[in-house]
């Protein structure tokens, strides 16, 4: 018996009834296609958000002039006080502390909210010019609307969390100048994330959080 005959003997064996189901394959295939589409859409959305935010948001220059950045796909071509971060380690950080909701682009940071290992706390994770970090925060009390979470070292940026009632954030310098910040609402249910990048060396007096009609909701002295 040669090899062909041997395989031939297997082929001539009567096949038992098959359990292969074409409809199930189609359903599973559709699910795979859907997951791939969702993954591609998600990645595209994040990239688009990052690029669009860089192009549209007012960007404070070193000379303290708020400008709309020139539309450009090349981040380095965008005028900015802080060099465009590379967001190195973003994937790793996101894997360790998965976002609970959206990822906000609040220049120069990418921020998101994640579940904290401590009860009744959430993590605010950020990645930017100084690398990445996560720090816990408790729910904002009923009387308050926003809270500072920290200030970046060597970079003039304050950042924090705000309730959804907050529609804008502005920093006020000691000499009375106003520096607009960037706020992304609804990052996680009821939570917005903000950042303010102010002119290097400027003495900051306070942060002002305003509502939908421009009314002042809260001031935080710095």
């Amino acid at each position: 018996m040669d090899a062909k005959q041997m395989f031939g003997s297997l082929a001539t064996q009567e096949q038992p009834p098959t359990t292969v189901d074409v409809n199930r394959a189609m359903a599973a295939g559709r699910a795979v296609r859907g997951r791939r589409r969702a993954a591609v859409a998600g990645t595209t959305a994040v990239i688009t958000a990052v690029v669009a935010a860089g192009m549209v948001h007012p960007w404070v220059r070193k000379d303290d002039v708020a400008v709309s950045a020139t539309p450009s796909v090349t981040p380095s071509a965008t005028p900015s006080a802080t060099p465009w971060p590379t967001y190195e380690g973003f994937a790793e950080r996101k894997k360790q502390t998965p976002p609970k909701g959206k990822i906000a682009y609040v220049p120069p940071l990418l921020m998101w909210v994640s579940d904290a290992p401590v009860k009744n706390q959430l993590f605010l994770c950020e990645i930017g010019p100084n690398g990445s970090s996560c720090s816990g925060f408790r729910p904002i009390p009923a009387k308050e609307f926003a809270r500072t979470q920290g200030k970046l070292r060597r970079v003039d940026v304050w950042f924090g969390v705000a309730k959804d009632a907050v529609h804008a954030v502005t920093a006020v310098t000691r000499d009375g100048r106003k520096v607009p910040g960037v706020l992304t609402r609804g990052v996680s249910p009821g939570i917005g994330l903000w950042s303010v990048e102010y002119p290097p060396g400027a003495a900051m007096r306070s942060l002002v959080f305003t509502g939908a009609k421009g009314e002042t909701l809260q001031r935080i002295a710095l």
Binding site: M1, D2, A3, K4, M6, F7, S9, L10, A11, Q13, E14, Q15, P16, P17, T18, T19, V20, D21, V22, R24, A25, M26, A28, G29, R30, V32, R33, R36
Partner: protein, 170 residues
């Protein structure tokens, strides 16, 4: 005819052929069904590219072989039975059954990649070049895998070298 209808018509018509390729790879009709089920699921995902292929049968055959080899690389714990109902083997003549059992035992002793090479070469009647293309390796690798696989089969079946397929390709 919509793409889904085309897919259904093609798969329904080629199901038996696919099972006949899958069976010598794994020597178990239930596992063969699992392999075929996974392969046709992947085929559905890639149907747009597959239907444009020059040789759709070759495309699907490669898919099936890759599903088999990928399953071998994964641990036993990652193998999933895709069926809930288990059918019973159809009884065969006792002489055929003995032969089939011997062949299955011998094939099971052949490493998976060599087994895939033998199936493509002798069951699917592919040339060395076609087999190399399907497995994504060189023709030299196909020849050596064929030779090694046949040697294992010979030793398992106690068949003299001259009686099993010649290995003049090498």
């Amino acid at each position: 005819m919509s793409p889904d209808e085309e897919y259904t018509a093609y798969v329904t018509g080629r199901l038996s052929w696919l099972r006949k390729i899958a069976y010598p790879l794994c020597q178990d009709w239930h596992r063969a069904d699992d392999l075929v089920q996974t392969a046709i699921t992947r085929l559905y995902v890639k149907w747009r590219q597959a239907r444009a292929a020059d040789d759709l049968d070759a495309y699907v055959r490669v898919m099936l072989i890759r599903v088999f080899l990928a399953e071998q690389r994964g641990g036993w714990f990652s193998r999933v039975r895709l069926t809930s109902a288990i059918s019973h083997q159809v009884p065969v003549e006792s002489g055929d059954r003995d032969l089939a059992m011997d062949v299955n035992r011998a094939l099971a002793a052949v490493p998976p990649r060599q087994r895939a090479t033998l199936v493509l070469r002798f069951h699917c009647d592919l040339s060395v070049e076609q087999t190399a293309q399907a497995l994504g390796c060189s023709t030299g690798t196909v020849k050596s895998q064929t030779s090694d696989g046949l040697a294992t089969l010979r030793s398992m079946l106690d068949t003299p070298k001259s009686r099993l397929a010649p290995t003049e390709d090498r």
